[in-house]
Amino acid sequence: MIDRAGEKIESIVPHEGPGVRINARPADGFLPDEPRGILQCENVDVYYGSFRAVTGVDLKFGLHEITALIGPSGCGKSTLLRSLNRMNDLVDGARVEGRVLFDGEDIYGSKVDAIEVRRRIGMVFQKPNPFPKSIYDNIAYGPRVTGMRVDSMDDLVEEALTKAALWGEVKDKLKQSAYSLSGGQQQRLCIARTIAVKPDVILMDEPCSALDPIATVRIEDLMHELRREYTIVIVTHNMQQAARVADRTAFFTAFADEGTGDRTGVLVEFGKTTQIFEHPTDQRTEDYISGRFG
């Protein structure tokens, strides 16, 4: 168990006894100059076999902040995102060099349980991917298979759906198939499913790219609500979405290896979203955000 500044967090290393989740941040709107990192990349390189997809990333994701990763296609945003909860472990030949620290612990450490990492650092994908089960069972599935001790599953399902702003729309049809929901509702169901296992961080890989504008607004509103309890990292190609939702923004680009022509992603600039869009320090950032390339 780690105790810091009045907040407690369960270790991601398997241990005995119940943990206490990180306390929610008051929604005071204050954004410190430096993020108070709950999740941190230290000189991270990600490889697929011999191909280096991303290199040299140093980045802090602030507690109860939304951080947007932006950049042109092929710059390694999603690759980096997937390395933040060891999702890349499931890809043959993928490996990470450097350190990814979750509350000070390296998630790639030898004693770390990858399943526990993915429970604490949940993920929402580009396309809604509900299980072929009922709405209720979609939410209950995670707590059941991870062996969470739950006083009342009904209460947990209601809590998760309420937090995902879906309860009012589905409370009378919990036994219906998740596939009966619209695309936007399915995506909120997926967020509820992620929330149900009590994560600290939610990773979102272009969560609105398959949704219509109205469903997109609902997800963005939801992200603002979720930030009070969770830390969110979002990959997006939509500059206006990054500006609308993110407290901080990291811009990535790719450079080509002169010999092989392979393109490797690199972090160019990281800062408060207002600074990135109003006063970017790097010309490449300014060119990208105003459509010069990408």
Partner: protein, 233 residues
């Protein structure tokens, strides 16, 4: 082509005194393309009557006007309706005569017969900055026709949403000045939220539209790092 006293319709009406074939050369479509409506009247009096009907007109009068002293005609126009007057310079007109016309308040000059492009330049020179909003603006290979909401780049049509069209027009009027981001932010609508990113995104959409229209040429929008943007034309 049969050139008679006629009207070629565009967004800015020019009442010209005299015969069309002595005043203009070029096809009617070329004048229309530049947003000019050219209405010719045979005499100064007929032109005055036309201006009375449409006081927003601009008058083009040749320096060899023969049914009334030219300076008197200019004075009447100004006293009646403050109508801008372009003097059409014909061969043999002296510099002193032109100077005298400027003393009487003409706005600009153009050699007759005039091409559509030169007449558009003379019209632009004769109007206040506020009035230029109505004009066809042509710089280099970029043409913006305000009335028709039409933009061409190397003669290829550029498809723009209204907001992006407004931003391009603003940049064209400001050309060749660099437009700071803060200034551009004032032109992205009334919503105060995220003006910076909306300005950046608008620039991105302009660039994409230029690229789509004419991919063989670099887009004319240049980033001036940490300052803003300008048109490179």
């Amino acid at each position: 082509m049969n050139l008679t006293h006629s009207t070629m319709r565009g967004s800015v009406k020019i009442v010209a005194v005299g015969n069309l074939d002595l005043i203009a050369r070029g096809r009617p479509a070329e004048f229309r393309h530049r947003g000019l409506t050219l209405a010719t009247r045979p005499t100064a009096m007929a032109a005055l009557l036309e201006v009375g009907r449409d006081p927003d007109s601009i008058v083009l009068v040749p320096t060899n006007l023969n049914d009334m002293p030219l300076t008197e005609f200019v004075d009447i126009l100004h006293s009646l309706a403050h109508v801008p007057v372009i003097a059409g310079i014909v061969p043999g007109c002296s510099a002193q005569a032109v100077s005298e016309l400027f003393d009487h308040g003409i706005s600009s000059t153009v050699a007759l017969p005039t091409s559509p492009g030169r007449l558009a330049d003379a019209v632009r020179a004769s109007r206040t900055p506020e009035q230029t909003e109505e004009l066809v603006i042509e710089v280099g290979n970029l043409t913006l026709d305000d009335a028709r909401h039409r933009v061409t780049w190397f003669e290829k049509e550029v498809t723009l949403a209204p907001k992006n069209f407004e931003i391009l027009r603003f940049m064209l009027v400001a050309h060749p000045r660099v437009i700071p981001l803060q200034e551009l932010m004032k032109h992205v609508g009334d919503n105060p939220q995220n003006r910076a990113v909306r300005a950046r995104v608008a620039i991105g959409r302009l660039r994409a539209a230029f690229s789509d229209a004419e991919p063989r040429h670099d887009t004319p929008i240049e980033t001036v790092h940490r300052i803003g943007y300008r048109l490179r034309l």
